[in-house]
Amino acid sequence: MNHRHIRNSLTRRQLIKGIAAASLLPLVGSAPFAIGGQHAGRVIVVGGGFGGATAAKYLKRANPAIEVILVEPNETFYTCPFSNLHLGGLREMDAIAHGYNELEERYGVRVIHAMAEDVDAEAHKVTLSTGRELDYDRLVLSPGVDMRWNALEGYDEEAAEKAPHAWKAGAQTELLRSQLEAMDDGGTFVMVAPDNPFRCPPGPYERASLVANYLAQYKPKSKVLILDAKDNFSKQGLFTAGWEQLYGDRIEWVGLSNDGRVTRVDADRLEVETEFGTVHRADVLNVIPPQKAGWIAERAGVTDDSGWVPVKPETFESRQVDDIYVVGDATVAAPMPKSGFCANAQAKVVAAAIAASLESRPAPEAYWTNTCYSLVGPEYGISVAGVYRVQDGVIAEVEGAGGLSPADASEDTRALEAEYAVGWYNAICQDTWGTPLGGRVT
């Protein structure tokens, strides 16, 4: 490990804790982590979403003496979870906005608002978009997903400005919302849904639900058409029943075996063509294309030929590169789904594993739970849960645990689950970033 002179705004309390953790002498000089010659280590975390922000915070919780640097280009992070509520006119963008103040001020994470552009795994260095190079002892990548441009003929970055994916929240969410607001009554909202694996399996169907809810109220002659590259989707039975109950025949779903797979997009004409030549015209077109791990993962050498990142199940360390840990949507962690909940859960396992590794002790056993809440309507919530452990060297669902909301639940239960969905969102955001930007926890 190299000596590092770090300028960092730590609170006195954290400094004292750091010293206490090293259980040694009073602070000497301007290198707070060079206490008595001991280095707790430096961990760089790339990506400030559910995975990265959680990893940064929990690393500090595990050992405040570890230097944690979080690299995230955005100063405000908009969550994909609950962004469908913005699309449906139920929440403003500030209700899904989160900042990094608490990570910096309360936990002593050093946040750098830049992009990580390159990783030299052998030299243990990350290069930032500012040109700066940072050494690391351990690296955590939580880069989310990137769209596979041109996997659908005609759907590239430029096309996404006309036919948004809104599969990364923020400007794309607002763009799609404004298109929906401008749509004439009687129009069709067409959504192109991808094949597995992709970020957030129930996401497209929650989006269709909340768009339908909006249309029912404000543009009642309008329809939703989902063209799917799959024959089955997450919570399908629950969604289908809910759609019928709440929206009648407003939502039409066309699966793979009924020629639902789209192969070509014309973003200028808002037209899509399926595998067997059927052309659909949209008034608002939402294309959710095939995806892959965020591109920095490929730069770091941790992706395989599938474009995703294989990891060791016990610690989420890369199978291909030592000292790089990867969490969240970018990983191959099946049967764990690609969800914010899982990214947060995986990040905690990684934080514990890295803290242990830096102290040369074995990592604790891994535990993960996932709960995906979806709103079929504002007062109609459904969920799927899973509890995961490592069994026989692979991640497996614990038998007898997890499962779906009941098919025959009462209206009250659906309403309660919708309430818990909000409670979940508030809690996970508090756990990941601290209180939301506006300070509101509603």
Partner: protein, 275 residues
Amino acid sequence: MHVARPAHYDAARRRLLRGIAAAVAAISLAGLATPALAEGPWQRLEAARSVLGDTEPSTQGLVLDLPHVSEDGASVALTVGFDGELADDDHISRIDLFATANPSPEIATFHLTPLSGKAEISTRVRLNETQQVIAIATSHQGERFATAREVRITVSGCLMRNGGDQPEPLSNPRVSIPSSFTPGQPEAVRTLINHPMETGLREDTNGEIVPRHIVERFTVRLNGSTAFEAELHQSISASPYLLFYLSPEEEGEAVFEWQDDTGASATHEASIKAG
């Protein structure tokens, strides 16, 4: 009409080519004088051995593309293709697919002719659990090639079954075929038909076994001559999807026929130009 290849199969094709390149590189590095390598999971599977007979297959040239991990064992995309060395007047005439750990290992047998033009087929298969999938190719002159891929099947709770409507058997036949062909240039043809592909292993809500009911045979005739044929078994996913190649020499009629095990059939016709 030129139909864009689904992105999924484009990626599959790139992987196929990379796989071929890697295989060739591996063999050259190993410095093997002859490409024959006998050992493989096909030796341990009786159904595969009966296709091989006494021959030891070469492992060079046949590539099987499957995902490393699939969350839904009911529908796993598969591409098998041959891009190896054959004598000038030889061609791949048969490809067999096996799922080593399925209740019944035979997935499908494809019969190719010179009118196929290119030995590459994509379909969707059912895999019961994590296992090796085996492909064996046989050439017109009796050369044999084999390869295998392991697929991990995880049952994702997120993909719980709809349990909804089963498709109407032999309904909605669909074919995507270029309207004109250049001789010597094989083009991809995609086909799809709705069918439950009932395995005969499933219980209905009363606990009764739902009888087997599958598409058994798919035939493509160009001006009356069989160009491509597939024997399908219950490990082909519901609503069978088949992508294969055709290289017609003259214009005329292409007739596509699906036959199921009740004797019922469905057909689709297309006019094609070649030249």
